[in-house]
Amino acid sequence: MPDHSTWFHFLPFYTSLLESAREKLGLSWYKGEQIEIAHVLGYAFVVLLIIFMAAFALRKYRQSVDEALIPEKKFTLANFFEMFTEMIIGLMEPMMGRTAALYFLPLIGTVGIVILFSNLIGLVPGFAPPTSTWNTTVAMAVVIFFATHIYGVKKHGIAYFKHFLGPVIKWYALPLMLIMLVIEIIGHLARPLSLSVRLMGNMFADHLVVATFAILVPLFLPLPVMLLGVLVCVVQTLVFCLLSIIYISLAIEEGEH
């Protein structure tokens, strides 16, 4: 099912690239299937698309500062990016405060924009959504995982790891500290796994349902599923960003004493 032809099959070097990738990488762990590189190429395409859109939309910022402050009248691309930024900051400010929100805005904003456009490009016929394989989603989830711990250590120092030991940190509570350590480690390891599998599962299942409906009656039957797919794309972006914001703010909170 995931082996449908995309626009990338028209590139002249695509077959040789695919052959050499399959030679070097072997079979996929997931189903023993052949490696498919349309997703990774789609990822590169999405990143290029975002960079071009951003460069095109933000040309008014390069002219003068006074002109940049005036919002545009219609719903243009610059307005879209400004709206997106406002929404992300509105998610972050209640949890972290203004300075931390502005500090983490590049990380969360980049992850949000990439996931949003990677999901949406799967609805265009002829493209495979890059987030429908575990390869791409686990990359983003691992980045968020390392970000939580690194920023926690940066803020609290080595005392950050006392969070793992639970509420009571005295010598007589040693069994409690050990059990809390095990539970916290399992919980922390489950976070990137759940983030990545949630995103991958939603995109994969949606793409699969659209493909199945397209096999039945290819003319107009996949349309309601695609409408649902737009909602799912946006909601999954929101869930990923909100959960990563929650994890980071849990790591850097200082409401202890």
Partner: protein, 127 residues
């Protein structure tokens, strides 16, 4: 686009109907009658646990897991939705503020069902 704009609504509807009916002709092709190999292959009366029986068990397990996960997940989501709708009914102005946590909770509950779906896929193709 101009050609489509020149056609009337009625003719567009007729064209759409013809296309749907024409593509649904392919549903009525004669089905091939599969013979019943299943009972012969999964027969392990000679004492060994052969691959086809193991495959049958794995697939049935995946099907049951998915059915249970989907039904219990639907129950959980319906509870969240009913609480949200009751909140909106009490206070219609708070509909905007209730909407975001509702969508978030629905997505988080649905992610548990999707974990089971992924495992079912892995079993189904590794059998």
């Amino acid at each position: 686009m101009k050609l489509i704009r020149q056609l009337s609504t009625r003719s567009l509807c007729v064209i759409y109907l013809a296309a749907v009916l024409g593509s649904s002709v392919f549903m009525f092709t004669p089905a091939s009658f599969a013979e019943d190999h299943g009972a012969a292959v999964t027969d392990d009366s000679d004492g060994s646990f052969n691959e086809a029986k193991k495959a049958a068990y794995v697939l049935m397990g995946a099907a049951f897991a998915l059915a249970i996960a989907a039904s219990v997940g639907a129950i959980g989501q319906s509870r969240a939705a009913s609480a949200a709708l009751e909140g909106i009914a009490r206070n219609p102005e708070a509909a905007g503020k209730i909407f975001t946590p509702l969508i978030l909770s629905l997505a988080l509950i649905e992610s548990l069902v999707i974990y089971v779906l992924i495992i079912a896929f892995v079993w189904m193709t590794k059998v």
